[in-house]
């Protein structure tokens, strides 16, 4: 049952592509100048989906735990870059004009990023009095992205690689956070390795909207009159994603010593999808040759 929508979708695409390819004979081919002029422009509408990987880039570090006899740097969080896969779904509306495309691609994006920090307490006079705690924290954010993108087709043919660049604004929809505390306690008469149940909290108040820049490359493959798309892009966050007013507002997180850093969020986004042409003139018309 789960595969039915995908099978149905594939069927629609193939049927659409087949139907359009049957209309190619005659028509515009006898009037090349008019066809050429017409094909300078095209509207494409479609959707794509895929996966994304996030990198949190700290702007300014914050901590609840404030060392009084050891280096502040030891409280710094160690961020993992592009380690957790998220997902996204995009609607794409693109206007093509003489090799350039201007595209609006509203996206629902679920991203994940992780970091960890470690604390240690020891007694120099008694080596068995030692505790190590490890805090592993995962953030899951849901954003509605609104990118404006310009594409340039490098080649014109059935396979059309392109480069693209643009700007985006991301609206926060939801966020949550889990903190897993594990550790090793050497003071219990042995080596006691333990792991607590993760603390999971809603964290929408801790995040905020942000904007950024997009750059990437992709390739279109013409299948009949349908265009299949594979693209990869790097979304560079240009503003802080942390809500600075609510940094310490979650008592549960503050209580365990957690305060979010100011962050810029970067993403590698990989999507595949399909685009449908919106303009046709006749049976012989082939939208894909320009």
């Amino acid at each position: 049952m789960r595969r039915l929508p995908a099978v149905f979708l594939l069927l629609v695409i193939c049927t659409y592509a087949q139907a359009q390819s049957k209309k190619r004979a005659g028509g515009f081919s006898s009037r090349p100048n008019q066809q050429s002029k017409f094909l300078d422009k095209q509207w494409w509408l479609g959707f794509k989906a895929g996966t994304n990987f996030s990198q949190a880039s700290p702007i300014h570090l914050y901590t609840v735990m404030t060392p009084v006899n050891y280096a502040l740097e030891l409280t710094d969080k160690a961020y993992d870059s592009y380690s957790k896969a998220g997902s996204q779904a995009t609607l794409e509306a693109t206007f093509y004009y003489k090799g350039f495309s201007f595209s609006v691609q509203p996206t629902y994006r679920h991203s994940r990023f992780t970091y960890s920090n470690q604390y240690q307490w020891t007694n120099p006079e008694n080596i068995s009095e030692r505790l190590i705690l490890q805090y592993d924290q995962e953030q899951k954010t849901d954003y509605a992205d609104f990118p404006l993108i310009v594409k340039y087709d490098i080649l014109k043919g059935k396979v059309r690689p392109y480069v693209h660049a643009g700007i985006f604004y991301s609206l926060l929809i939801n966020a949550n956070k889990s903190v897993q505390i594990s550790g090793t306690d050497y003071a219990s008469g042995g080596t006691n390795e333990f792991s607590n149940d993760p603390v999971i909290v809603g964290a929408k108040d801790l995040f905020d909207n942000y904007w950024g820049l997009v750059a990437g490359l992709g390739v279109n493959y013409n299948l009949g009159n349908v265009r299949l798309v594979l693209d990869a892009s790097w979304w560079k966050g240009m503003s802080n994603t942390t809500n600075v007013d609510n940094r310490y507002s979650n008592d549960l997180l503050s209580g365990i010593g957690e305060a979010p850093d100011d962050l810029k969020l970067n993403n590698i986004i990989i999507s595949v999808g399909v685009l449908f042409p919106m303009r046709f003139l006749g049976n012989s018309f082939n939208t894909l040759d320009r």
């Binding site: 009095e129 905020d208 940094r247 008592d251």
Partner: protein, 378 residues
């Protein structure tokens, strides 16, 4: 856009001051905001060579970041609050670890200590500022008296009067256990009413009592009796005339009386005062009371320790004692209240003890913005 906001960073923060020594133990006693916007915290610490607490002083910046910390020489122990501001310096009392003689210590706004001044009193228990002088409640273990004194800023005793706690070691035992921090933490406090009457909450005539005195007569002018060490007042702050904001405890139960008339002459009993019961607070909870002004009203703010190991704040209208809001601080690890102070930006700073990793006692500091205070107690 949502860029870094230093004003927000100052207005709201939470800090836990961690020490990486496994067997280290710290607790705060009082906090004051210094003219640079930072905070000076007087604390105690566990020391190896004495049963009493050592002294710990910490200075933070306006963001709560550590500026300096000092573990004061172990020859001085048993620091007591509050930090009393006088001429840009902050004074507090403690005692020597061997002779148990009271000492007046002074620190500047950066936490730098000057030489101690010896005061011919033992076991300092509570203090308060009185203009340029200091009021000190101490315990005279030789004569078994609660002693109320007026001390000048240079450390001379201006006035002093002792009040017998009663005969027998049983009366003294909870007092000594309080100083050693091995027994019940007793709510000693001292002050002076607007009419010039001195008061202290200490042992008198076998009972923890709030005693009113003119420091001239041998007998108190008024006594609000408790129940030996099982009941009495936890805290009292004068509002006006005979009106006080009170907290009391009675056989583990706690009661708040935000606008109570207190009999400052004659003998009365704290258990007859009634009040709002607070079963959510720990048994015999220590209570701090702060008068606070927001944009909209005058508040009497109570701070104490909840059974859920949070710091609990309760706000009441100063004018009529009406309850107006509550706020709970801390979660995950246990938190205990120590002191709170209004800040120059109209907010509130609360310091307490938290148990990092559920076991290491460390000082914590919560800063609430003016907006948060107003939102919580509107």
């Amino acid at each position: 856009m949502n860029e870094a906001d230093p004003a927000a960073d100052k207005a709201n923060f939470t800090r836990i001051y961690d020490h990486d020594k496994f067997n280290a133990s710290f607790y705060p006693i009082d906090i004051k905001q210094t003219p640079d916007g930072g905070y000076l915290i007087l604390g105690g610490r566990k020391i190896e060579d004495s049963n009493f607490s050592g002294i710990y002083i910490m200075k933070t910046d306006e963001y709560g970041g550590l500026v300096s910390q000092q573990e004061v020489d172990e020859t001085f122990v048993n620091p007591i609050g509050p930090l009393m501001e006088n001429g840009g310096n902050y004074s507090f009392f403690c005692m020597t670890s061997v002779g148990l003689q009271t000492q007046l210590l002074k620190t500047d706004a950066e936490g730098t200590l000057s030489d101690p001044v010896n005061i011919a009193l033992s076991y300092p228990a509570a203090a308060a500022a009185d203009g340029n002088n200091f009021l000190l409640l101490s315990y005279d273990n030789f004569n078994k008296k609660s002693v109320m004194s007026v001390i000048t800023s240079s450390g001379s005793i201006n006035q002093s009067k002792g009040f017998a706690i009663g005969a027998g070691d049983a009366v003294e035992e909870p007092i000594i256990n309080h100083f050693l921090r091995t027994g019940k933490e007793l709510p000693f406090f001292a002050g002076k009413t607007t009419s010039g009457q001195f008061y202290f909450n200490g042992f008198y005539n076998y009972t923890l009592s709030m005693v009113f005195t003119n420091l001239t007569d041998d007998e108190p002018q008024g006594v609000v009796q408790g129940q030996q060490d099982d009941g009495g007042l936890s805290q009292a702050v004068q509002l006006e005339g005979s009106k006080f904001a009170l907290a009391r405890f009675n056989f583990v139960d706690n009661y708040f009386l935000p606008n109570a008339a207190l009999n400052t002459s004659g003998i009365s009993s704290s258990s007859e005062l009634g009040g709002n019961p607070f079963p959510e607070l720990i048994a015999n909870a220590p209570v701090k009371i702060l008068r606070l002004n927001t944009d909209t009203r005058k508040i009497v703010l109570y701070g104490s320790n909840s059974r859920s190991t949070q710091i609990a704040l309760y706000g009441y209208s100063e004018s009529n004692g009406e309850f107006i809001g509550s706020r709970y601080l801390g979660f995950s690890n246990p938190f205990k209240m120590a002191a709170m102070v209004s800040t120059a930006d109209g907010g509130l700073a609360i310091c307490g003890t938290t148990y990092v990793a559920g076991r290491f006692p460390r000082i914590c500091l919560f800063k609430l913005s003016k907006e948060e205070v107003t939102r919580s107690f509107h």
